[in-house]
Amino acid sequence: MTLKIHPAVNDLKSDYDKGKMSRREFIRFATLLGLSATAAGQMAGFAFPTTASAGAIKRGGKIRIAAPVHKVTHPAQFSWICPSNQLRQVAEYMSYTDENNITHPYLLESWQPSADLKTWTLNVRKGIKFNNGDDFTADDVIFTFKQWLDKNVGSSMLGMLEGYLDANGIEKVSDSKVVLHLKTAEIGVPEHLFHYPALVLNHKTFEGDFIKAPHGTGPYLLKEFVEGERCVLVRRNDYRIKGADGKSLPYLDTVEFVDMGTETAPMIAAMQSGEIDMIDQGDMSGPEVYQALKGNPKVQIYPVATNQTRVLRMRADMKPWSDNRVRQALKLCQNREKILALAYFGEGMIGQDVHVSPKHPEYCPIETPKYDPEKAKKLLAEAGYPNGVDVNVAVGSGWKEIVRYAEILKEDALPAGFRINIQTMPNSQYWEKWTEVDLGITTWAHRPLGTMVLNLGYTSDSKGAPAPWNESKWVDKEFSELITKANGTLDVEERRKIFCQLEKIQQERGSAAIAFWINVWTIASKRVQGIVSHPSLYLKLEDFWVNA
């Protein structure tokens, strides 16, 4: 069968040849348009390295990972990464976004978007079996999509998809082909399919509780799951993907996730003593574990830069933040180098008050604003606060780097006239009112595309009301129009041009102050091999093996 290549791929190729686009960006966009990563890599003139040489790999053995074992029923309801790291070994996703933010087909064999990006054909990979013997077919794909779109399930996938997809827009063409008819053009479909709650379910056996019927297509079987204690996985013998030694993955016999509570100190001690091999930091904030273990000779650290950040966001519909001069004044009070150095120990990149990271493909280089309390004071006076202003900033006390960020800001914003009162609360309480507080610092997870973040956090719905996750309620007509334009623009240079405008607007009149982007680390014992750190800290345990 010959697959049609999306016409834009040729444009991308010519951009790449002219040097308008980096190799990584070419592969990213070409794979998004349905080309396999290998084919795209070949077009770009290089071969993918194999992850491990067959000679070195050893089979068998067990590893223990410290991770919270939360109560789990419906995978689509996940709101934490750690449970997904346990169950993504049992069930799998339709696509796979790798550590370089390139998305590959996974349970799907390929996808083909139409030229207008409104019709997506998903080709289901044939010959895959669930671990209970059922065949994986288009019915499972459709069943899973409908679970996400069902309001009663309450999946965060709904928020991501409902803007462009309805349940009646899903068409089954054959047992191996599904067509999605979108309401609007969307380039991020393959990446959405790898969002952590997007595990593919078995339509024959799934009845709302995955633990009762743990039937997935993945490399491990669920042996034991005790909430708050442990999750034990054992090797599946007939997994479809082969390892470097030509035999079925996974290499390990057993993986045990041990719940050690929320305190990091016992986990660090357990790592030092060799009692555990790894700490799943997917939902853990802060670099304390890295700081404690970086010099340990038994431990290997795998760092990765991310598009994760902490956003100091101001409600643009509430006083005093409704005045852009006040917002700009507070942004000028950020001593960015100091904030990164003290709040996150210098382990990240400086931000420029735009929610597009230097690691996003569309990033347009923009100047970093300087710390300038004098100018901030003038702006405050112009806005009608010559004697300064008292403000409260809400922070979750569990995010240590956010508390430090707030303490630094309080000190550095004082000369400008901001008298900041820090209101700490448990993280859960912050999540209850993260869209309501007038000034707060929110954690934003890693997302591979800049458009994904901007669509979520800084747009309005069709009636002009802020989108559900638009926490600062900042709605700017020009900005919204530019995002819509960017969503349907494939040419990377054109897209970057739009992003240059978007970033300029957000920096000049936006509602978010972004001082830094953080690094994350996969931290494991040296006996564990085959680790590649993912920016979302997703674990791909079938590639892991133990040396002795």
């Binding site: 150095a341 003290l342 240590k400 303490e407 000190e411 009162n421 700490t424």
Partner: protein, 317 residues
């Protein structure tokens, strides 16, 4: 003090004071107290520890070279040095300054809001509030007896059955973290204990002749409770209060440690321990060691002082 004087005067006048020691006036009495104090080694050590922190708190601006908020971002998490005698915390703030200003919040001033500070430390206000509520309830309960006693004491028993830490957490989590709410929490948690003590003292004192005399004179209930009974029960109450200040400091430390004390960047000892604790494993134990020692020394000091005083005063009696 004035209450005692007027009561004793009245009692002398009515020639009904056989049961009570006539306190010495002014200097003589002070000398007696000091004598009791210094005859106990424990009390002396306790006094020295407590006075040390009181002076540190009073003189904080004069004995520190930095503001407790001043951040030196080039020198975070450093051990003791000449510039920073106890080292710096994770934001490069001088730990000695933070300890000294933290002592002020405990013992000398209470921040009502960012701008309004009132004299009397947070722990002290907590204990005063507990004493006031506890003493009122204990007096009524002990003096009135009957159903009033039953209702009050059973309610307080119910409160005492809740573990103290849990009660602190519930109260502060419900009210939010601030100095005033910490005072409220300390008061609520301390009230049942004070009430029990005062009630048992009242049960004894209410049978005394001078109380009968006051009743015969037709004095009001409030007068009898607060002018006749309370002043004569003050000895044990003062010693109990001293212990309670220690508990209150401990409670402040616990709440701060759990992130429910004063909001950051306030130099709250408990939150200093909590924040410093994160850096023990990366080789900087100082930021949590010093505030832990500060809490321990002040609490131990108050306990020694109270214990010593109690033992000595009992021996003198």
């Amino acid at each position: 003090m004035d209450n005692t004087k007027s009561t004793s005067k009245k009692n002398q006048n009515s020639n009904l004071d056989q049961n009570i020691d006539v306190p010495k006036k002014g200097k003589g009495r002070f000398r007696d107290t000091l004598k009791i104090l210094f005859s106990s080694k424990a009390a002396t050590i306790g006094l020295i520890l407590v006075l040390f922190w009181v002076f540190v708190a009073l003189l904080a601006p004069y004995i520190t070279s930095y503001s407790p908020m001043e951040q030196d971002w080039k020198a975070p998490n450093k051990g003791p040095s000449i510039a920073h005698p106890l080292g710096t915390d994770e934001l490069g703030r001088d730990i000695w300054s933070r300890l000294a200003y933290g002592a002020r919040i405990v013992l000398i001033v209470m921040p009502i809001s960012e701008k309004l500070w009132i004299p009397g430390g947070t722990a002290i206000w907590g204990v005063i509030a507990a004493l006031f509520c506890g003493a009122s309830l204990g007096l009524i309960s002990g003096y009135k007896g009957g159903w009033a006693d039953e209702i009050i004491m059973r309610l307080l028993d119910a409160m005492m059955s809740i573990p103290v830490i849990l009660l602190y957490l519930i109260i502060v989590a419900a009210l939010g973290a601030s100095a005033v709410n910490v005072v409220i929490a300390i008061a609520i948690v301390g009230t049942p204990g004070v009430a029990r003590l005062v009630r048992s003292l009242t049960l004894d004192i209410r049978t005394r002749d001078y109380v009968r005399a006051a009743e015969t004179r037709g004095e009001t209930l409030l007068y009898i409770l607060f002018m006749e009974i309370l002043p004569n029960a003050k000895g044990p109450i003062i010693i109990d209060a001293m212990l309670r200040v220690g508990y209150a400091i401990f409670a402040m430390g616990t709440l701060g440690f759990l992130g429910l004390g004063m909001p950051p960047p306030s130099p709250d000892w408990g939150s200093m321990v909590a924040k410093g604790r994160e850096f023990i494993l990366i080789g900087n134990p100082w930021a949590s060691l010093w505030p832990s020692l500060a809490i321990a020394s002040l609490v131990v000091g108050l306990n020694l002082l109270a214990d010593g005083l109690r033992e000595e005063s009992m021996r003198y009696q």
